[in-house]
């Protein structure tokens, strides 16, 4: 049996070699692991000292040679340290590997020189059958163990996705309100026939009246019921409730809310809103009173560039007032207010903070607030698809829907870009349409309250004016004066029309016609149903118009640069 020849001395030597090698391997391994743990925290590119030096250099007005020299020296040190460390680790690893090889070879040799002698197995036949019994029991145990582990895992790993989807389903699964009454469940009929916010009820640009005047003449006064000078400057649009028109105005000397009578045009009252804080810097073209007011039918609400939010009754008495923080914004506060009758929604997306808030209309208590991520200048819109009311907000990247009651985000689609001022449009049923220059226009079809992108278009895009969608078409009015008609289902361009001036005012649908006023004060009235651009009328107001008109009770209220006009028949 030459295989089992014993060489005790050689065996001993190789065993001791193996032991030494094993100790070496152990020490090196411990050192390497310690080194690794230490290196986990080290980041040579973002070394704190280096970062500090860089900041110092960046803050100094001109290049300072001393700091530059310091950075270079320190950078070199950091690199040297890093590569020395790398080298150390590499040689450590090799040492480890070779130590391990030596150890194993020595152990193999010791086995070779002192082989394990064959032993005769246990005296009698081991009872295999009994072993099998043990196996069966162990196997049953393992089976139970596996089932328990599965149960445990199934219990521990819960799906957030399922929760989110279930919530969406619940919203979608709400009993659909009877057709034709969609608006009433959220916005009262009274709201529907008034003009409670920018772009009318819900802020979607649809007027609830069959037709509006299509001919008038400002110079002769034909068809103009009255014309009244507006004394305080502001880029906000008029809102109308029954017999009153409300607007706001402000400059660096004061902020005002004022009310006109619909029949005479006379100013009924004007209330000054005192501000406590310092006024922010705003651009001249935004001013201090860009946001349009809103009303719930009992109070009117106004917000200014100072962050002052005020509620007044119809007689001009302040019911509540608060400052929600001075907006930090390169242009000034631009987002208008909107109310669903119980809550007042404020989109507050500025440089330092982005959020949307809901206030109790009665007392101004904050009902909820939801954090947002991007700056914007656009306004909230309340839409009412069959799945229930949604509050739609645009920002620099996304169009986002919130539950008006809880403030929880319902959905979000990333399809916007640039400094977005246009708000969302809605066809009254299931299509939301958003667009902004430097991004694209996107039509979103709501399916059970959840959107999917229907089509996108990226040629002529609006910068200020919000788009408009009807049952058949989507309309875009750009800042350089293009009017575009697109097929709402396919996105196909139906027509393009060039006007002399750009549009700040958003186009509004009244009956079968669309009213769009350009910056030169020309009211373009065109057929909303026609396959091509079909102009019904084009009427000059005689002064620039920045604001969106209000359409109530067969009349049009237009706030020009200096005057407020009421167009209509007696």
């Amino acid at each position: 049996m030459s295989e089992f020849k014993q060489k005790p001395l050689m065996g001993l030597i190789s065993k001791s070699v193996a032991l030494v090698a094993a100790v070496l391997v152990f020490v090196v391994a411990v050192l390497l692991i310690a080194d690794h743990v230490r290196l986990l925290k080290m980041d040579p590119l973002n070394d704190p000292v280096l970062l500090e030096l860089r900041a110092e250099l960046a803050n100094s007005a001109e290049s300072s040679d001393a700091v530059v020299e310091k950075i270079r020296t320190y950078d070199l040190y950091a690199r040297r340290a890093f590569f020395a460390n790398e080298e150390q680790r590499r040689s450590g690893g090799l040492l480890l590997l070779s130590g391990a090889v030596v150890c194993f070879v020595a152990l193999k040799l010791s086995n070779h020189w002192k082989p394990k002698l064959p032993t005769v197995g246990k005296s009698e036949n081991p009872d295999h059958w009994e072993l099998n019994n043990l196996f069966r029991q162990l196997m049953a145990g393992t089976g139970i163990f596996l089932v328990v582990v599965s149960l445990f895992l199934a219990f521990v790993v819960q799906s957030d996705l399922a929760v989110v989807l279930k919530r969406a389903d619940e919203q979608a699964g709400k009993p659909a309100p009877p057709v034709g009454q969609t608006f009433q469940s959220a916005l009262s009929g009274e709201m529907k026939f008034n003009w409670p916010s920018l772009r009318g009820p819900g802020g979607i640009g649809h007027a609830r009246m069959a037709e509006a005047p299509i001919s008038w003449d400002v110079e002769t006064g034909d068809g103009v019921l009255w014309k009244e000078e507006v004394f305080v400057h502001g880029f906000n649009s008029p809102i109308v409730w029954n017999d009153r028109i409300f607007m706001s105005g402000a400059d660096d000397e004061g902020q005002e809310v004022f009310c006109h009578d619909v029949n005479s045009g006379k100013e009924l009252w004007a209330t000054t809103i005192e501000t406590e804080g310092e006024l922010p810097e705003v651009s001249e073209d935004t001013g201090y009173a860009a946001p349009t007011m809103a009303t719930d039918g009992t109070l009117v609400f106004a917000i200014f560039a100072s962050g002052d939010l005020a509620a007044l009754d119809f007689d001009g008495k302040i019911v509540w007032q608060k400052n929600i923080g001075v907006p930090d914004n390169p242009y000034g506060m631009g987002s208008s207010l909107i109310s669903d009758g119980q809550r007042l929604f404020v989109q507050y997306d500025h440089s330092d903070e982005q959020k949307v808030m809901a206030f109790d209309v009665a007392n101004g208590d904050e009902l909820w607030r939801t954090a947002r991520n991007h700056i914007s200048w656009s306004s909230p819109v309340l839409i009412e698809p069959e799945s229930g009311m949604q509050l739609i907000l645009n920002d620099e990247e996304n169009v986002t829907a919130y539950d008006p009651v809880s403030g929880k985000q319902l959905w979000q689609v990333k399809c916007l870009g640039g400094e977005v001022a246009p708000s969302a449009a809605f066809n009254g049923k299931d299509i939301v349409f958003v667009a902004n220059e430097y991004a694209q226009a996107t039509a979103l079809k709501l399916n059970g309250g959840i959107p999917e992108i229907l089509w996108q278009y990226d040629e002529y895009l609006p910068e200020i004016a919000s788009p408009l969608v009807t049952e058949k078409y989507a309309f875009i009015a750009t800042t350089v004066g293009d009017l575009i008609g697109l097929d709402i289902q396919t996105g196909e361009v139906k027509w393009e029309q060039e006007c002399d001036d750009g549009f700040n005012a958003s186009p509004i649908l009244v009956g079968n016609n669309v009213y769009a006023i350009d910056l030169g004060g020309v009211v373009h009235i065109f057929d909303a149903e026609a396959e091509s651009y079909h102009e019904i009328a084009s009427i000059e107001m005689g002064e620039p118009v920045y604001t969106t008109p209000a359409f109530v009770n067969g009349r049009i209220y237009i706030r020009g640069d200096e005057n407020l006009f009421c167009i209509g028949d007696d």
Partner: protein
Amino acid sequence: MSEMGNRGRRNFVRGAAAALIGGTVLAAARSRSPKLVWQIDPEKCTRCGRCATHCVLAPSAVKCFHSYSICGYCDLCGGYLRPDAKGRNTGAENQLCPTAAITRTYIEAPYYQYKIDEDLCIGCGICVEGCDVFGNGSMYLQVKHDLCVNCNQCAISNACPSDAFKRVPASDGYLLKSDQEKRISS
């Protein structure tokens, strides 16, 4: 006799097993698509920096590619200089690349060429981010197939946060941003 029957049965089962293996192999081989290799889709890449740290090779087989045909040859290169750089030289306070793998060469006023030394590049994507934020995006990360060992499951692809790694046919193993790019494959 039973011994013989046993053997016959064994042979039969063995034949069946061989047929099964053959069948599986044929089923797997039914699409004779070409050999696949790993590549990064530059449109999906977010320059997270994991290509530099998660490759089984050190340094990584991912390198920065530069599509010259879409480069603006800018003097002030977002991929070459730190955003706060005061000078345009290779000083540590100006240069973005942690390994100084980008060489800047004057071509003609006011154009500069930026060339990447692939031996120095570690695929960290810092310059890619710079070029994307302030540039044409002509710098982007690609797997270099002469270095890549083409692991059955790419270790970077496991770590990639944006699912940018995909298998592409080896015959056309690069996803270049520009069709007009001149290539040398030797």
